[in-house]
Structures are given as structure tokens and as C-alpha cells.
Symmetry: none
């Protein structure tokens, strides 16, 4: 893919940001291009449909900014970021991510990204992030900042699992569709104790019923779907 357009139009101040965008969805790329080029001082000088092309183009074209999707073929956005930052340090990188991929935030920053924006966010957040990068500042959405703080705090305090072993056992059994009574029998506990563990687990995870616990258990690999 990797379409390159010649930069023809310059604004009065002459400072047009040269941007590379990378996403494996053509329609998303086009949308991003339109969005960015609606700003008179931003120009998309290249597009890539996978991480390897993105890296190659970034190193060859030296854009001011590379906006990379996390999930791409060949190289992920994070892997591409590492290589770009190594071989072309003057190229800033913004990571664009799907809804709840905040889990990659920390890795993204370690890889050298200047910012992390969720696709679920408004377009204004993306444009703001680009302008922040232009000024040489890092950019995180409020959600990302919160996630980062949580992540760092979590590490500091020795952080194995959110849940205690007992809580995990109970959560697993809840997710396997056992009632509190059945769980109590299986674990040789009173129903009340089971309730306490389930309730504590839900509070820790910020969840409101067993249905949410099921999805958590599946994401954590505690059970199969």
C-alpha cells in the first residue's frame, strides 16, 4: 500500500505537520486522513496497512508524527514504535487503540510512544494529541492517565493478582454457573462466606453482578467460554 503524496500546499507560517498513518483498515485510514487534513496545518504524507510498512515508511520519509494502530499484521503498532524510535528518534509516535486496550498503554510508553488515544474517544482528542506532540509534549487522555496511575501504583505494592486466591476460586465457580449454595458445598463453606468473597471480588473489580464476573473470568482464562 504505502501511498505517498507530494506535499504541494504550504500554509503561511510554513509549519505543516507531516504525518504518517497506519491502520489495517483502508476505510479507517481514509477517515483519519480526512479528519487530519481538515486541519490546515496537518498533512498526511503516507499511509501503511501493516506495521512493517509503517516502520519502513517512517524511517525513510521521516514524518513529524506517525499515528499507529495497535493491532496490525506483520508488526504490531508497539513493535513498530520500538523500531521507529530506535532508528528515527525524531519521528514522534501516537498510538491509536481499540476500546479497552488500555492494557497496552504501559508497553506503548515504554516503547517510546508520545501519546495513547483510544478510538472510542472523540476526534477532538486525537487532534489535541497531535498538537501536543507538535509542541513536544506527551499526551494521554484522562482515561489513559488514570489507567497509567493505577498500573504504576499496582506495581509499587507488589501486585500479583487483584483477587485473593479464595476470591478467584469463588469467581471461577460463579462463572461456571454455580449458585452460592452449590459453591458453598463445593468449597465446604457457608453460603455467607461465599457471598462475602463474591461481593469483595465484585467490589475490587468494580462490577455489579455475576454476569460481569463471567466475562472477567473468561478474559482471565479462568474458564473457557
Amino acid at each position: 500500500m504505502a501511498t505517498i503524496l507530494a506535499p504541494d500546499s504550504r500554509e503561511a507560517d510554513g509549519r505543516v505537520m507531516r504525518i504518517l498513518i497506519a491502520d489495517d483498515h483502508g476505510i479507517v485510514r481514509s477517515g483519519l486522513r480526512m479528519l487530519l487534513e481538515s486541519q490546515s496545518d496537518m498533512e498526511v504524507i503516507a499511509e501503511a496497512a501493516n506495521g512493517a510498512d509503517a516502520r519502513d515508511l517512517a524511517i525513510r520519509e521521516r514524518p513529524d508524527l506517525a499515528i499507529l494502530d495497535v493491532k496490525m499484521p506483520k508488526l504490531t503498532g508497539l513493535q513498530a514504535t520500538r523500531e521507529i524510535r530506535e532508528q528515527a528518534p525524531e519521528v514522534a509516535v501516537l498510538i491509536l487503540s481499540m476500546h479497552d486496550d488500555e492494557r497496552y498503554l504501559f508497553e506503548a510508553l515504554k516503547a517510546g510512544a508520545s501519546g495513547y488515544v483510544l478510538k472510542a474517544q472523540a476526534d477532538s482528542d486525537l487532534l489535541e494529541a497531535v498538537r501536543a506532540v507538535e509542541r513536544g509534549e506527551p499526551f494521554l487522555t484522562p482515561e489513559a492517565q488514570r489507567a497509567l496511575i493505577k498500573d504504576v501504583l499496582g506495581q509499587g505494592s507488589g501486585r500479583e493478582e487483584e483477587l485473593t486466591p479464595r476470591e478467584q476460586e469463588v469467581v471461577k465457580l460463579v462463572a461456571e454457573a454455580h449458585t452460592n449454595k452449590e459453591i458453598a458445598e463445593i468449597l465446604h463453606l457457608s453460603e455467607k462466606t461465599v457471598e462475602n468473597h463474591r461481593s469483595n471480588a465484585m467490589r475490587k473489580l468494580g462490577m455489579r453482578d455475576r454476569v460481569e464476573l463471567v466475562r472477567y473470568a473468561i478474559r482471565k482464562g479462568l474458564i473457557e467460554p
Copy 2:
């Protein structure tokens, strides 16, 4: 690229297509809006971030076209399509899908969609699809056509879905941790009707509570874990 700019050709007839777009990613919505509004005869009159809002807006605003992402909260694009086509048949629907979601193509057409475009495709395909719909023609990308043929050949005697469309909608919402009351509001039904659909679905599937329904919904791809 295929981004066709500045065609004033259509301005003469004065017919501007009124379009609704629905995707749970704000940035993607904005991108789509920019892309579509780069055409002088297309106007995005509404945006929705979930299937239920998309349905309500389509029925209220009666756009010429609704462009819906497959994966959305509350109602999938397919479920929303079904309801829109029932209650506002003059609203055409284009389904926009992630790369390997060709599996939903057949269902999309059954639900009444006029076209099916993969996000991996170029923007030109989307614009072409919109224009085809404008002319009242169906639109499938070559990839989609191939998938459809394979689907029809492969099936023949057709494996019916166990659950009715309505039951599937309810199951999806249950799995998203909505209460019966919330589901009733989202689907504009009474709580009793929701209970009946959930109960019927559970009986058909041999399940005993909503926890088991969650795992079913995840296995079926109705929701993400």
C-alpha cells in the same frame, strides 16, 4: 488514493443524501463523516455509538442511508438493521464490518441490508457502495460476493438458528449485564416480554440462568468477553 475530491458534478440535481453513521469508536465516526462529507452530495445528519441509538435515530430522522458497524453495544448492526428495515423500510442500510467478519454477510442480507463493506477495503468501495444504494441497487464487494456464494453452496439445507432474532437480541443484552428492566427500555418492550424471550431462549438452549447465557453469547460472537 481513491479519495475523490471536489466533484461538483452532483450539485446540479440538488439531491443530497442524508446519512446516519453508527460505530462505537468516536474517532472512526469522525473519520467516516469527513470521508462522506468530502462528497458534495452526501451529508451525515446523525451519529450513534451503539445499535439501539442507531435504530432510534434511523426511525426518527429517516435518513436515506444508515451505515452501521457490525459490532456495537446494546444492539449489533445486524439486529439494528432488522428493526430499522421493519419500522422504517425507506431507510437503506449499509453494513460496515471488520476484516474477517464475512461470516455475518448472509445474516446481514437476511436482515435487510443493501450492502456489506469491509473496513479493510478502500474508501472508494464505501463511496461506491453508497452510490449504488442511492440508485436502489445492492452492493457487495467482490470479496463479499465470493463469500456469499461459498455460504450458499456450503449450506443448502441450512442449519437454522436455534433462537429467534428477538431472543438473540435479548440474550445479547443479558450478556452485556443489563437487567430485565434495562432491556425492556432499550427494546421498548415490557419487562414481561423480555422475561418471556429470555426464558424461551434458556429453555431452547437447555440453560438454567443468565450466567450460562453469557458464555453462549460469547461463543456465538454476539459479544466480546
